[in-house]
Every structure is written in C-alpha cells, then in structure tokens.
Symmetry: C2
Subunit: 381 residues, 2 copies
C-alpha cells in the first residue's frame, strides 16, 4: 500500500500546500518552518519543499533571525509582496484611474485623468494610454516589470477581454481592451466588469474581508451589482451576472431620476457627475425637505432591486460603494428600513471604505489572480 | 525532499481519490483497477488502496471477469448502489410522498397519501408517519436498514432541521421535523426546503445534469425557486436563499391570481389544487381565448421574478418544475418571449421530466449527501 500520489494528484496537492503556506504568510508575522508546518498541518518535509519552491520564485523572503535566540536560530520567512508589480486600470465614464501596486495591493502610484463622458473610443483609449504611462513613470516602474494587469470597464465583458456591450460609454461596445492594453504592458492582461471588480476589492482589502456571500452595490449615476458567492466572484454562464438593474421592475433604471428632478428644479447644478449629485445629499443632510424626499424616493427604488438580490441570495453582507457611497450617512438608515420591509432577513449593511479607487483595486486583485494561477503550473511536477 | 503528505493533507487527498473512483464507477460499465487508474489519473497503488477501502464499506462490488479473457482475467468493480437504502420524504400542502431507494436513487417503493391542505400540525405529522411506515413495508425494508433520511418541506428551514417559517401550511412554523422523523428511522435525518431539493434532484437525475448554474422554478399554486451555483445547491447565510417570490415587484405573489380569476368566472371548478388549475391550461391548449389570456397574464408575472433571477445569476439553464410543469407546453414559449424581453441573455429553458416525485427525489439526494460526507471520515487515516 502506498501513500504516494502521482500525476494530477500531485499538482493538486502541491497547489493546496503552496496556497496554505502563502495564506499563513500573508499576515504580518514572519514564521519559521516549524511554525509553518504546525499552522498548515503539512509535514516538515512538505513545508520545506514548498518554501524552497516559493523562495525560488521570489514569493517568499528570508527574514533576519529573531534576536536573543539560544543556539543556532531558525530561519524565518515572510510573504515577499515586493517581489513583483501589478497594474490595475479603471476606465469609467468621467475618469481613468491607474494603480501600480506590489503583490499585496499596496499602492506605489495612483494616477487619475479626467475624461469627457461624451468622449469616443479613440479619445478614451488615448486617455487610458496616458494614464497608464504616467502611473508607471510615477511608480518608477518599467512596463516590462509589471507581472500582470487587470482592467475594469463598465459594460459586459467576454472571456477574451473584449467589451461585448456598453450602454453608458460612447463607441465602447466591441472594443478589444485586452489587446489594446497589451500594446502598453507586455505581461498577461485580464478585463472585467467594474461592479464585479469593486466587489472583489471589498473581499480583498475592504469591508467584506470576512464574508463568504456578499452583494456589492455600485450606487452612483448608474446602479450596478457584483456578487461574491461562497467566497468567490460569481460570473455566470456568459459572465453576465449581476445585471438585475436592466429589469425595470427592479427600480434601478428610475432611481437616480428622483435626484435629477430635485437638482433640476432646485439648484440647476450640473447633474451629470456624481459630484454634482452630491448637492442633493448635502441639502438632505442639512434638513432640506425636498432633498430629503428625493433621497428617500431614490432609496425606495434602489431597495427594490437590492431586496430582489437579498431574497435571491441571502447574503451575509450588503456593501454600498460607488460615487454616492460618500453620502451613505443619509442613505443607510432609509435603505435598511426599506430592506426590512421587503426582505425575510435584512443582512448587515456596510459602506465601502474606499474613496473611488475600489474598482481599480479590484482590477489589481484580478491581475494577482492571474499570477496566483501560475503557482501550480510553475512548481516542479 | 518527500512527497508524502501527512495529517490534514492526507484525508483531503484520500477524499479526492475516493470521490474520483466513485465518480468513474457511477456509470454503467464495471471497470478494472487498470482502467480506474487510467481514468482517475491516480497511481495504481492509490487506486488499489481506495478500492479496498470502498469495497470494505460496501460501496463497491466485484463483478465476474469479462468472458473470453486470455490468461488470468482482471477483477472488475462496479458501484454497489444496492449496498444501502435511503429514504426521501416530501411533505406538501396536499400530499405526503415517501420514496425508498438504493444509493443511486433507484426507487424501490413510492408511497403517496393525500392530506387536507387545512390539516394542522399533528394531523400532517400523523399522515407522514403512516406514509413512511407504508413505504418501508412496501419496500420490504426495516427502519434500521435506512442509512440516511432526507425530508422536504415548504417554508424556511434552519440547520438543525426545524421549520423556521411556513406561510402555506397551518401550524407548521416551529415544528422540529428532524426530531420527529428520528423517532421513526434511527439513521441521520436532514431537512431542507422543497424548492432547493427539487433543484438538487434536477442536477442529479433530471434535466439539469450537465449544468453548473441552474435556476429551478417551482411553478404551481405557490411559486418558488432553487438555485444551483457552481455545481452546488446555494443555501445562503441563513439558508434563506431563493425567496425572491416574497417581493411583490417580482410578480409571483400575484401570478396565480390570473388563473384563479378565470377558473372562478368560467368553470367554477376547484381552484385549490394544481389539478383543478389544470383546466385552465387544458382550455388554453384547446384555444379558449380567455384561458389563453389568463395563461399569458400568469406567465407575464412569472417572468418578472424569473428575469430578476436570470439577470442576477446568468444561469446556463432555467428548469420549470412543480404542479404546472405538466402544462409546460403552453407555458414555455410565452415564458421565453417574456425573458427575451427583459433579459440580456435568455438561457435555455427545460421542463422537469419528473411527475411530482422531484422534491422527494431531491430529499433522497440530500440523504445521500449525508452518507457521502462519511466517506472521508470513515476511511482509515
């Protein structure tokens, strides 16, 4: 009788082992092989083996032995987030935002360039090129040093990195974003819908870190959703999940109109940016009755689609992100009341702690996913 | 450097190995160890080891060697579905249905006893007792021979097998079904919501066998949903998923009223059973304009909530089950047209091939899940 696995077995096992070691080392404390072996439940020999492989790939670094050890001090290891660089790009209606980070999402440079919402494909891509170049320069990083790139865009994206359909950006349906970005940075490029990536960012470094089932709401000029199910981003059969906003009965198409109406009749401020919209929330916060009513009407419509998501998935957590999340203080309580009205169980509601870099940070996480998937294939068989 | 995994490693690996061997043997063909090793990618030694364990537990059986083999013929193995017995019980509004099956869900006895929809808790439980006893007797099986039992009920169920909330059955909220059934059959008992189990049955032996993401619709006097996500039944944080029907905007609360209205004004037949409802579909099939309109109105409301589920999850497949699925021929095309209207991508629509035993068969699958979870813990470490 042999315990020795071979072939497909082994690589699956080694992937589990490598992931277990990396997971333990993602914390702040460097660990010895003995500690790693204890925490992961792996044998000493397997732990040593995995550590050697990960050191060779630069994922781990050795740390100076602890002071005051008696006898020959044991080597200690930490996750080497500095081993590589990742790029995350968020292409929105009003701006392009690029992040250059280390392997743990620590931002080395954040560059934002405004773009006209009416800009066509060529103009928007040109802004993206400038934004990426500026971010790389700002971080002091050559394009060739980027291990992997993630790109976020509004609209529906296919598996190859092409935008299938975008209602909100002019001339955007059909653009092959992955191919375009590959001309700028030579590493692998993955493209995904912005709401999905914002959800991913929340489970990585945001307020949803400890939740397995999460509904993320992008609340802004547009309303969108990203779903984390059983700890993973849910994409769906054709990657078109989270699009409940397209259903009129869900209320999301109509929701922002209440805010627009107040803006138009009252202040005549620019209602085409979420900053312009902010004046409704400011007035509501100051007690303006009309503004309060407009916010209540907005939340009432927002809550219908949100309740549909909650009743469908029974998530642990609803996270509010997007442009309006800055004004969440006047939205959360009315939203909770509406959810209480429709849902069998109202989940916890949290507000994103990101300013507006959540989507780009999710794009970085997507880039890291690509790198992590090479752990298995990179290890010796 | 050692390849030998220990501790937690090993049991996870052995579970993967045992599952892989069982998966290959669930087909019709008995297989030799050489064939099993090749198909699973496991080493010969690991395959032999797993097979020995599974034989010891009765999950595998040896088959007579193939005729005409030259030399000493190789032993062949098959999944031994006959090794154990499972019990599945469906407690509905109008009936209790019990199935006694083998480990593959092959039905040895199916017993149905009608129950008054207005029956209270005690009466309904008494009917269930009789139904289970009759099914066991019919199958020639002692209660002690049942390896595991699954129970399906309408309403929301908690993890311990208690009904948390049931709107449709009188005095049903709070009943501890698991405890009650344990008095009848000594093995482990698991309880789950009927829509969820019907979805499970479709992925096991029904029309959704090859799909990873499935929306199952229970279309009948009540409308409900069960969700298969990434190949697994999605339960949610408190096991309250799939309840979108509670949201008025989803249209499901109102949907059956169109059928009731036609029945009341036209035929005055009994509208309290789905058989009574069938006359609407019969009339629609015969071309009655009023009945056709009633079905169209029903489907229009059904489609709103269904579109919400489809837009949220982007499933590969929508399966229609429940009492009205017998009349699916007049429902599918109108439903497809409505989904085309609201959804970005209309998934394939299939009609359940089960008569009304789908829910009970899902309860059997739940019982099998319980048995399968012992594969790991039961194998020697």
């Amino acid at each position: 009788m042999s315990e020795e696995p071979v072939g497909g077995d082994l690589s699956r096992l080694r992937q589990l082992n490598a992931s277990a070691v990396l997971r333990e080392l993602r914390g702040d404390q460097p660990l010895t092989l003995t500690e790693l072996s204890k925490r992961t439940g792996l044998s000493r020999a397997s732990t040593e083996d995995v550590a050697r492989d990960l050191l060779g790939r630069g994922w781990l670094a050795e740390v100076a032995p602890a002071l005051g050890s008696v006898g020959r001090p044991a080597r200690r290891y930490r996750f080497n987030a500095g081993a590589g660089r990742l790029l995350g790009v968020d292409i929105g209606g009003h701006k392009v935002l690029a992040l250059v980070t280390d392997l743990d999402g620590e931002v080395l440079n954040q560059t934002r360039i405004a773009v006209d919402p009416e800009a066509g494909r060529r103009e928007r891509l040109a802004v993206m090129d400038r934004c990426v170049t500026k971010a790389l320069t700002g971080a002091g990083v050559e394009a060739g040093q980027i291990w992997s790139t993630g790109v976020a865009t509004t609209g529906l994206v296919d598996g190859s990195g092409k935008v299938m359909l975008s209602d909100s950006l002019p001339e955007w349906s059909g653009v092959d974003l992955a191919a375009h970005v590959r001309r700028l940075v030579p590493g692998p490029v993955r493209v995904e819908n912005d709401c999905k990536l914002a959800a991913l960012a929340e489970t990585w470094h945001g307020v949803a870190r400890y939740a397995k089932d999460v509904v993320f709401l992008l609340a802004g000029l547009r309303t969108g959703a990203g779903l984390i199910i059983d700890g993973k981003l849910h994409r769906g059969f054709a990657n078109w999940s989270g699009e409940i906003g397209a259903l009129p009965a869900a209320g999301w198409l109509r929701a922002p109109e209440h805010l627009t109406a107040w803006l138009e009749t009252t202040t005549r401020r620019d209602a085409s940016t979420s900053v312009g919209f902010e004046s409704v929330f400011i007035a509501a916060r100051a007690g303006d009755q009309g503004a309060l009513q407009a916010v209540r009407d907005y939340v009432r419509d927002l809550a219908v689609g949100t309740s549909a998501l909650v009743l469908t998935l029974d998530p642990q957590l609803v996270v509010i992100g997007g442009g309006f999340s800055r004004s969440a203080d006047v939205m959360v309580e009315p939203l909770r009341r509406e959810l209480d009205r429709w849902c069998l169980r109202t989940p916890e509601i949290r507000v994103s702690a990101f300013a507006d870099e959540g989507v780009a940070l999710g794009a970085v996480r997507l880039a890291l996913e690509e790198v992590e998937s090479t752990i298995t294939t990179g290890l010796r068989p």
